[in-house]
């Protein structure tokens, strides 16, 4: 699909344009005239309306691209590119190159959608709103950049850019031990990034290009690092981001202390960068190493699933509980890709999308409850459904989606992963099945202790969902989760299109490796 217009660049940089507007326009505007100062309706919070408008605009572009996306053509579409650093001057090429394929298109849409959700869920934020919404939009640009970069250097730039807004959003607008958590998040990610950069440089220098479409894995024989080492270096960064056990401990801290909107984006899209990177870079650029690493990936995935779920059961803070459940759910991504086939990889990619929606919704619901109760401790809550039934319905729905209930999005992803991976990774999948039971246990038990049970008079004053922004978020998320559950092809077809060439590359690499081994 070539629209003859740099629509993808517009999508990526529209939020940054919004940042500029927010910076130039006044913040929360309070008229100085004492007569009208306290009159209701006179305080207009420009930044949040601007942020909403810009994020809706971005979502609209993403939706148009989603509809116009040509489902009959493989490869990248909406490509925008020009040389940025040319080889004649410095000896290597870096291209400004962006494009989407079947794998990245749903993730781009997910990012645009969840940013709108994040803006809406922040409607009651009133601390330094100008900066707050500006940083949210910077975050959106950086994630969109990661999902669409076709050049390793740009991929890395956007990957790092995301740290700045995240650090500030957690440490200024967070709660609890927020400085510790923000610093831990940044240091942990940078630790991984250092390895990733080394890996990228080795790849790019050996292949003489940083263009993802151009790098051929047979060129890597000349790299200054052995291919398995490059693979491991890059994998470290992605494994931290995903995250997989035992590299996950930054996640519960960051989630617990982050504001609701940041938790939504962190769980909804930032973690997905790890899974996306594994498929887009590791499996595409180094299929031969990936084919050898399948068992290791499957074991790490299965361990993450069960280990994460077991710890989730012990959590006493609702947000921490959901954070640990993410560790478990992201293990499914590794398990899916370790199957090396189209089915497993489609399931893994689907898990990225569905987990983004479902866990995003879980964090939204916990955030809305926290706005009212000012506690996240499970032990302090009881019988909330009596007083806030609408939020209760939302929470139960999100929880059921989280435990993989059929007809909701998560089931499709998990079942596809299981069916795709069992043939090649029998033992890890068998262990991972336990995760399904544990997920039901921690979610239902948490619901039982917080929303069910006898009335507790101390919560009698709580208002139920009562703002249009809250209704909008809950309805939109519910609708998408049900839609993907009953009509998965709308996204699954795209994802399958995106991962099929990757699976074919891996299969070819594995076949040639075994024929070499057989011949030798």
């Amino acid at each position: 699909m070539d629209p003859g217009f740099p629509v993808l660049s517009l999508l990526i940089f529209l939020p940054l344009l919004g940042v500029l507007l927010i910076a130039l326009l006044p913040g929360k505007h309070t008229p100085t005239d004492w007569l009208v100062q306290n009159a209701p309706g006179n305080q207009v919070d420009y930044p949040k309306w601007l942020a909403l408008g810009i994020s809706l605009g971005t979502l609209l572009i993403a939706l148009v691209m989603f509809i116009l996306f040509d489902r009959s053509v493989a490869g990248f579409q909406f490509v925008d590119e020009f040389d940025w650093i040319s080889a004649e001057a410095v000896g290597f090429n870096v291209a400004y190159a962006f494009g989407v394929d079947g794998l990245s298109m749903p993730l781009v849409f997910l990012t645009a959608f969840l940013t709108v959700v994040a803006v809406l869920v922040s409607w009651r934020v009133d601390l330094r709103t100008k900066e707050y919404f500006a940083w949210l939009l910077v975050l959106e640009t950086s994630v969109l950049g990661v999902f669409t970069s076709l050049d390793l250097i740009f991929f890395f730039l956007f990957w790092e850019l995301e740290l700045i807004p995240m650090f500030l959003l957690i440490s200024i607008w967070g709660s609890g031990n927020r400085n510790y958590s923000a610093l831990k998040f940044v240091l942990y990610t940078i630790f991984g990034s250092a390895f990733m950069l080394a890996g990228f440089l080795a790849l790019g220098v050996a292949a003489d290009t940083f263009d993802i479409r151009e790098i051929r894995h047979d060129a890597l024989a000349a790299a200054f690092l052995p291919a398995p080492a490059i693979f491991a270096f890059i994998l470290i960064a992605f494994a931290i981001k995903l995250p997989v056990a035992p590299l996950h401990t930054w996640l519960p801290d960051a989630h617990t202390d982050a504001p609701t909107a940041v938790s939504v984006l962190l769980a909804g899209v930032l973690l997905k960068m790890g899974g996306y990177g594994i498929l887009r870079l590791l499996f595409t650029l180094m299929p031969d190493v990936a084919a050898d690493a399948d068992l290791a990936l499957a074991i790490i995935g299965a361990v993450s699933i069960v280990y994460g779920a077991v710890i989730t059961i012990r959590q006493t803070d609702l947000k921490r509980l959901i954070a640990y459940s993410s560790v478990s759910h992201m293990g499914f991504v590794l398990l899916g890709v370790s199957a090396l086939g189209t089915t497993g990889m489609s399931g893994a990619a689907m898990q990225l999308v569905t987990h983004g929606l479902i866990t995003g919704m879980l964090f939204v619901m916990v955030g809305l409850v926290y706005d009212r109760t000012h506690t996240r401790q499970i032990a302090d809550m009881r019988g909330l459904a009596h007083y806030i039934p609408l939020l209760g319905i939302g929470m139960v729905f999100a929880g059921l989606a989280g435990l993989g209930l059929p007809a909701l999005a998560g089931f499709v992803a998990e079942i596809t992963i299981f069916l795709g991976a069992f043939g090649s990774q029998t033992a890890p999948v068998s262990i991972a099945l336990l995760g399904v039971l544990l997920a039901a246990a921690y979610i239902l038990w948490a619901l039982q202790r917080t929303f069910f049970g006898p009335k507790d008079e101390k919560w009698a004053h709580l208002p139920d969902a009562n703002h249009w922004s809250e209704y909008t978020i809950i309805i939109a998320l519910t609708a998408l989760i049900v839609l993907l559950g009953v009509y998965p092809s709308i996204v699954m077809d795209l994802l399958e299109m995106g991962v099929a060439p990757i699976a074919a590359t891996v299969e070819a690499a594995a076949a040639s490796a075994s024929s070499v081994a057989g011949g030798g």
Binding site: A385, P406, L444, F452, G453, Y487
Partner: protein, 671 residues
């Protein structure tokens, strides 16, 4: 019938779910936003009031089920004409991912046709009854929304033509029963029972999930018909091969065992039976549906659906035969010591389902399905009867009942018919189906037969005991309604239930009486055999020995129980009252053989939550996160120490240069 009709059957209750759900949401929104429902001008206002009223939740469901029932009945007549053979219906692709193609499709044969009629029929009667039973409950609309979804899920389960779709609806049945068991979520016991039901059945579902991915990875298909053909035809030299599909004997056995695990969980068989008695916490009409045509029936249906698979492996078929026989007897013993009428019926359900299980194990496929059908009718009747009793006494504790036959004659008579049917008394429906199962057991496995026969005797005894405590003797006053819940304001004067409740009782008791006659000439058996890969004509089993033996045993056991209850005081004076002479045995039984304590307290709570999970969480916080924290704190320490060097003092720089120069000079001189 065209395929569309079956989707209509499925979507009718689903539409009712949407309406009831909207009605329930509207109720909540109205409380939150007073402006949500404005006043309308003139003639529109009554219409708006109607739409906002609770009947929007129940009436559409009843209409939907009535239409669905009529369609199912027409389809059954069609299917009888076809001798139960499957209709040729293609599947619709839902999504693909690589080689995996997931389809939505219906399979219509004798088995499905019978199930459709049973599910829609029983559900319809239960819903009519519920309009009376739940009248005035705050959650009326939510109740019917859940009920509609529950029925939809069960219909989807029996219509599914592939294992994945069956599994999806299977899980939805589990979910909706979770919602219904925990319907009165303000009761901690209800919330806990709901969670327990979901988790215990999901433990079994793991086996089913494993079975599904195993069969897919070995054969590449999820089609029920293809898997059954393979199991039926292909066995040769340890391999099953048919129509291009291949699977080894071990894999086929494992597949069968996985299905059995799912069925054991769903149908509450030993050792996963522990959720069912607790599930009594739901509203009684829910129990009536859960215990008859839906939920627990799903397990038996699954094994009947995959009958060729179960019998492709003697390990699988023997296992389910013995699990069934043991559960039938054990649950009957437990039913004998309960004081809660719903718990008597709950254990009775477990025991009766166990009959169907061992019937499948010994090869009595048609007998199992037949008993599934007759049991659905008379067990729904009994549960609704117990609900009717509760409606006027506010209790399920039989020690607070008694003498109700005079105050509630319709309830008493219909309950009596249900009991006679359950006890297998000629010529009620339970007699025909139970004898059929015993004949199959006698033919194939004498040990199973003995256990089944003993259970049959106990069945008569525990039901007579329950009837006696509830309907005979002196009325013992019932119980005051719990505060905040609606109930009979004057339990000391019990009364007959409203017509919306007694009508379903009467209809069900008629069906419980006559539905057994379908077996004559082997007609019923022929229809359900049509669902198997190799259909054959059914035959009408009759054995004078088993007829006389089982009837005599039931009469003797029932009579003994009656005499025991009636002359309790005198029996007690002889010193053989249950509570004094065999207290240990009785305590053992009332504590459910301590299985509940073992499973829930020891394994789940102590060993897993207090042990494994606790250690893992400690390990995560102290070791995994501890290493991270020490690493970056250590890094900071090194950095802040090293920062001393970069302090920006010119003098320090000069001194460093000087010292460095001296060291180099010394080095050069020395070496």
């Amino acid at each position: 019938m065209p395929e569309t009709i079956f989707w209509v059957i499925l979507f009718l209750p689903l539409t009712a779910f949407a309406l009831a759900g909207l009605s329930a949401l509207n109720q909540n929104l109205q409380r939150q936003l007073p402006a949500w429902n404005p006043r309308y001008p003139g003639a529109l206002q009554p219409l708006a009031d109607q739409l906002r009223g609770p009947r929007l939740a129940s009436t559409p469901l009843i209409i939907a089920l009535a239409v669905a029932f009529a369609l199912a009945l027409i389809n059954l007549i069609d299917s009888i004409g076809l001798r139960g053979l499957p209709l040729e219906i293609g599947a619709h692709q839902l999504f693909t991912a690589g080689d995996l193609t997931v389809n939505l499709g219906v399979r219509i044969d004798g088995l499905t046709s019978v199930m459709l009629v049973v599910v829609t029929g029983v559900s319809l009667l239960v819903q009519i009854y519920s309009t009376g039973y739940m009248d005035g409950d705050h959650g009326y609309r939510r109740y019917f929304a859940f009920m509609a979804l529950f029925t939809t899920s069960m219909l989807g389960l029996v219509l599914a033509d592939n294992l994945l779709m069956l599994f999806a609806f299977w899980e939805l049945v589990g979910l909706t029963s979770y919602l219904l068991i925990g319907f009165w979520f303000h009761r901690p016991a209800a919330a806990a029972a709901a969670k327990k039901a979901f988790l215990v059945t999901r433990l079994g579902d793991l086996g089913m999930l494993a079975a599904m991915i195993l069969i897919y990875s070995r054969t590449g298909t999820l089609e029920i018909a293809a898997i059954n053909e393979l199991a039926e035809h292909g066995a040769e030299a340890g391999m099953f091969a048919f129509n291009g599909l291949m699977i080894g004997q071990t894999a086929m056995t494992l597949f069968g065992l996985g299905l059995i695990a799912g069925a054991v969980g769903k149908s509450a068989q030993f050792p996963l039976h522990i959720w069912l008695p607790d599930a009594m916490e739901g509203p009684t009409p829910v129990s009536a549906l859960v215990h008859s045509a839906t939920m627990v029936a799903a397990g038996v249906y699954l094994l009947a659906r995959f009958f060729p698979v179960i019998h492709a492996s003697s390990t699988a078929s023997d296992l389910i035969a013995w699990i069934g026989a043991g559960t039938a007897l054990g649950a009957a013993i437990l039913a004998l010591v309960q004081v809660d009428i719903k718990r008597v019926l709950a254990y009775s359900t477990i025991s009766q389902l166990a009959y169907m299980m061992f019937a499948i194990g010994v090869g009595g496929y048609a007998a199992a399905v037949f008993h599934l059908m007759t049991h659905a009718f008379f067990k729904a009747l009994l549960f609704l009867g117990s609900g009717s009793v509760n409606h006027s006494t506010n209790t399920f504790d039989m020690r607070k009942m008694g003498g109700l036959r005079l105050a509630m004659p319709i309830t008493f008579l219909t309950f009596m018919l249900g009991t006679l049917s359950l006890a297998g008394i000629f010529p009620l429906s339970g007699f025909w189906s139970k004898d059929e199962i015993l004949i199959e057991a006698w033919d194939h496995n004498k040990g199973v037969f003995v256990l089944g026969l003993l259970a049959a005797g106990l069945t008569a005894a525990y039901m007579v005991r329950a009837i006696y405590m509830t309907f005979f003797g002196e009325y013992r006053g019932g119980e005051e309604a719990a505060p905040g819940e609606h109930g009979n304001p004057d339990p000391s004067h019990p009364h007959e239930s409203p017509r919306s409740m007694t009508t379903p009782l009467i209809i069900l008791s008629v069906i419980a009486f006559i539905s057994g006659f379908l077996t004559f000439g082997g007609e019923f058996q022929t229809w359900v055999y049509g669902a198997l890969p190799e259909p054959h004509a059914g035959k009408f089993h009759w054995s004078w020995g088993i007829f006389l033996g089982s009837t005599a045993l039931a009469l003797v056991a029932g009579g003994a129980a009656f005499m025991f209850m009636h002359h309790r005081d005198r029996v007690r004076s002889w010193g053989i009252d249950g509570s004094s002479t065999i207290p240990a045995a009785q305590r053992f039984a009332t504590n459910l053989f301590y299985l509940d304590a073992l499973g829930e307290n020891l394994l789940a709570r102590r060993l897993f939550y207090g042990g494994i999970a606790r250690v893992t969480a400690w390990f995560d916080a102290a070791v995994v996160d501890g290493i991270v924290n020490h690493a970056w704190r250590g890094g900071l320490t090194v950095a802040s120490t090293a920062r001393f060097v970069q302090n920006g003092w010119v003098q320090a720089g000069a001194i460093s240069i000087g010292l460095g120069g001296m060291i180099i000079w010394i080095a050069v001189v020395l070496f």
